[in-house]
Amino acid sequence: MIKVEFLGPIGEESLELHANTLAEIATQLQEIETIAPWLSKCAVAVNDQMTSDLSMVLKSGDKVSILPPVCGG
């Protein structure tokens, strides 16, 4: 299982999903009504490393973090 956590203002509980790649996570998240609108403006980290590789292979126990638009300071 892959843990998917939604950071900051998204306000959704974490999910446990079955997936072999990040692309499979994307497909599942796109089907969730409350999460889909966030995806176009969110960045992604896998095991706390930022990534831009949708084909990244995932293994059970990995953590995917969804990071919405930021404004520090």
Partner: protein, 144 residues
């Protein structure tokens, strides 16, 4: 990198940073203070931080500064920070002023764009995400 619950004690942190770097022969020390302005009827701003990614972001800047013979430091608040107090301070130390002046500009601007921190207005005790002032991080939209 230092994180604190609530408003920062700016003079205390800056003084400590100065003392820490006192013996390194830096010719320039440039501090930056972010203060919460009174506007839009807010009583405070509030912040969430994702520390693991923030630490990596900061560590990359430490390495970048080191290549220039410089050092960067920062402190940020978590939770509510009242107006007229500080939520964010940073500083650059370098042997010569030009490196420090350029680095503080890049460091603060990249912080605004890519540090995993979320800001909320606090109005009548309610937290409202400052969506219109927020910026998608590099690589956003990957899962859309």
């Amino acid at each position: 990198m230092e994180l604190y619950q609530g408003a920062l004690d700016v003079p205390t942190i800056f003084n400590r940073w100065l003392k820490e770097e006192n013996s390194f022969n830096y010719g320039a020390y440039i501090p930056f203070v972010g203060t919460i302005r009174e506007e839009n009827e807010i009583e405070a701003l509030s912040f969430d931080i994702y520390e693991p990614v923030l630490q990596q972001w900061f560590d990359e800047w430490v390495a970048k500064a080191e290549k220039l013979g410089a050092k960067v430091k920062m402190a940020h608040a978590i939770g509510d920070v009242p107006v007229h107090t500080s939520s964010y301070i940073s500083a650059v130390f370098s042997p010569k002023r030009r490196v420090a002046l350029e680095l503080i500009d890049e460091f603060v601007e990249d912080f605004k764009a890519n540090a995993p921190i979320w800001k909320y207005d606090v109005i009548d005790g309610k937290r409202i995400y400052a969506e219109d002032r927020s910026t998608p991080m590099s690589g956003s939209g990957l899962l859309a």
